[in-house]
């Protein structure tokens, strides 16, 4: 199996580089910087499609039996499915951080993950806005631009840089859940940060730039490759309440250390037990 992974990695690597170049071209276009809604959502869709079609086309040309995880509504061929099977399956996000892509906030990424026998065996994430290419193969460590990376050894939230998707307050039906959780975690964290690019946030945990990250309600392609990178960098990735991470429903806490991860889990549980946030004592 490891020669198979090696072969697939060598195959996908230049494609990931090329996909990053396409992404960067779109990212650097000046005329996008006008309005986040409206006309230039077309630009996003354009580049999203370009990158997706490029990668799928190249992969299927060489490996016509491979599958992809995607949304059935956008499925263009029989190789796309909503279910994960044992067959080699690519889990790709052509552009993660679409608002950042539009605004030129340098947290954008092409994310490519590969699953074999329902296990993520390789991941490549390319953030061309920062010139960072993150790579991992199962059991072989994590890298950024070819140099080994490692999670931080931060064990306490008090010392930690934690990312939380604060933008989720926009989604009315989960606003209460998140305001309570933000309150409890933010209370104790040295810094709480928000970047709106899940893929890049996972990479930042793997590289030790962030000490922990929590997210829910994402798609498999947001978290598949990144979850491998964090583990290969020495970190932990679990379901928010401590159970195993599930690629297909990728709710997660990831951190450099289990101590920090557990501290965050306990605070999420505490938050969920409250009906609402008061301005009461810590």
């Amino acid at each position: 199996m490891s020669t198979e992974i090696e072969e697939l990695y060598n195959f996908i690597y230049p494609l990931a580089i090329r996909a990053g170049e396409i992404l960067l071209e779109g990212y650097e276009r000046k005329e996008k910087n006008v309005d986040i809604k409206g006309a230039f959502y077309d630009v996003v869709t354009d580049y999203d499609n370009k990158i997706e079609q490029y990668l799928m086309g190249e992969i299927l040309a060489k490996y016509p039996q491979h599958k992809f995880i995607g949304e059935e509504e956008t499925a263009k061929n029989n190789n796309v499915s909503k279910e994960l099977t044992d067959v080699p399956t690519w889990i790709i996000d052509p552009i993660d951080g679409t608002s950042n892509f539009i605004k030129q906030i340098p947290h954008v990424s092409v994310s490519i993950g590969l699953s074999i026998n329902k296990q993520i065996v390789l991941g490549i994430m390319n953030n061309p806005a920062q010139g960072k290419l993150y790579t991992a193969k199962l059991g072989q460590g994590a890298f950024c631009n070819g140099k080994p990376i490692h999670v931080s050894n931060c064990e306490r939230l008090r010392d930690a840089n934690v990312a939380y998707e604060v933008s989720l307050l926009h989604v009315h039906k989960v606003a209460n859940k998140h305001i309570k959780r933000i309150y409890h975690v933010g209370l104790h964290a040295r810094r709480m940060l928000a970047y709106s690019c899940v893929v890049d946030e996972l990479c930042m945990v793997a590289a030790g730039n962030l000490d922990a990250f929590y997210i829910e309600d994402m798609y498999p392609w947001d978290c598949a490759a990144g979850s491998l990178l964090v583990r290969e960098a020495g970190g932990v990735v679990t379901h928010p309440f401590g159970g195993p991470f599930d690629i297909m429903k990728p709710d997660l806490i990831c951190a450099g250390t289990e101590e920090l991860r557990k501290e965050i889990e306990n605070l999420l549980r505490k938050a969920d037990q409250e009906h609402s946030v008061g301005s009461g004592e810590v």
């Binding site: 920062q130 309150y183 590289a207 301005s279």
Partner: protein, 283 residues
């Protein structure tokens, strides 16, 4: 106070810009170190490194040598003092050697050297240099704002529904601000197209000047965190007000900065409304 000529402001600008650029190597050396020695200042969320001190010393020395009339309001020089000095009409350099120190320590490229010049209590020069991202923002009054020598302009987003807004959710860990911070995060977050929390006021303001963020709000900071950024936003065509809608006060710099006046006003109103929130159950 004598009228300051354009040529004199340019002189201050040129000398300051040169000095800031010369601090680049110190900044980079510290930034690239994985194990930096770090000291905790007043509170657990307030950190400093030797590089902060080295950069502030180099800037202060160089500016004093070129302009002996200078006064200084600098983060490290004032560390440990309880009160800020009074701002006079004299030429005063307002310096943050590394804004976004926790980002700097973690090698997150949202940090920078921030230098501003105030004379007659007017912001005249503003420079923010982020060597980690190769971004040098600069402005001198009346001449627009620049990034790496190219002119920059704020965005034209006029409503929250089309705006990406920066704010600092991290301030929820400061007890006296907790409640206010949380309520504002909710109010802004529920209406904006998106929110970002980057933990660097200087860079966030520079991003507003560049149009990368449509607006930025922060309270509770110090003059050196925002002085250069405020001038950049204004010179790039944007507006900066006090959070409560009154005139921005550099020495007590609670602010709302935005590309457009309507967006700034909408944010000011949302913040005012947030104070009315009594019950946090948003179901």
């Amino acid at each position: 106070m004598a009228h300051i000529s354009d040529a004199k402001i340019k002189e201050y600008y040129d000398v300051a810009l040169d000095l800031v650029i010369k601090c680049g190597p110190i900044f980079r050396e510290g930034y690239n170190k994985t194990n930096k020695e770090v000291m905790v200042k007043a509170a657990f969320f307030d950190l400093v490194t030797v590089y902060d001190r080295q950069i502030e010393e180099k800037l202060t020395e160089g500016l004093l040598k070129a302009f002996p009339e200078s006064l200084f309001i600098g983060e490290e020089a004032l560390a440990g003092t309880k009160q800020l000095p009074e701002l006079t009409d004299a030429p005063t350099w307002i310096i943050d050697p590394i804004d976004g120190t926790t980002n700097y320590i973690h090698r997150l490229p949202h940090c920078g050297i921030s230098v501003a010049l105030v004379i007659d209590k007017q912001l005249l020069v503003g420079i923010i240099y982020n060597p980690a991202a190769n971004e040098l923002y600069s402005t001198w009054r009346g001449h627009g704002a620049f990034l790496n020598g190219e002119p920059i302009k704020v965005s034209s987003a006029a409503t929250m529904s089309s705006a990406v807004v920066g704010h600092e959710i991290t301030l929820v860990n400061v007890a006296p601000l907790r409640d206010r911070c949380l309520k504002r995060a909710y109010k802004l977050g529920s209406v904006a197209a998106g929110t970002r929390c980057l933990a660097s006021a200087a860079l966030s303001l520079a991003y507003v000047a560049k149009g990368t963020l449509d607006a930025y709000h922060v309270d509770y900071l110090k003059p050196w965190d925002v002085a250069a950024g405020v001038l950049l936003v204004r010179e790039a065509g944007g507006v900066v007000h006090n959070t409560n809608g009154s005139v921005f006060n550099l020495m007590k710099p609670n602010l709302v900065a935005a590309g457009t006046e309507p967006l700034a006003q909408e944010i000011i109103q949302l913040i005012e409304q947030s104070a009315q929130i009594k019950d946090y159950t948003f179901t």
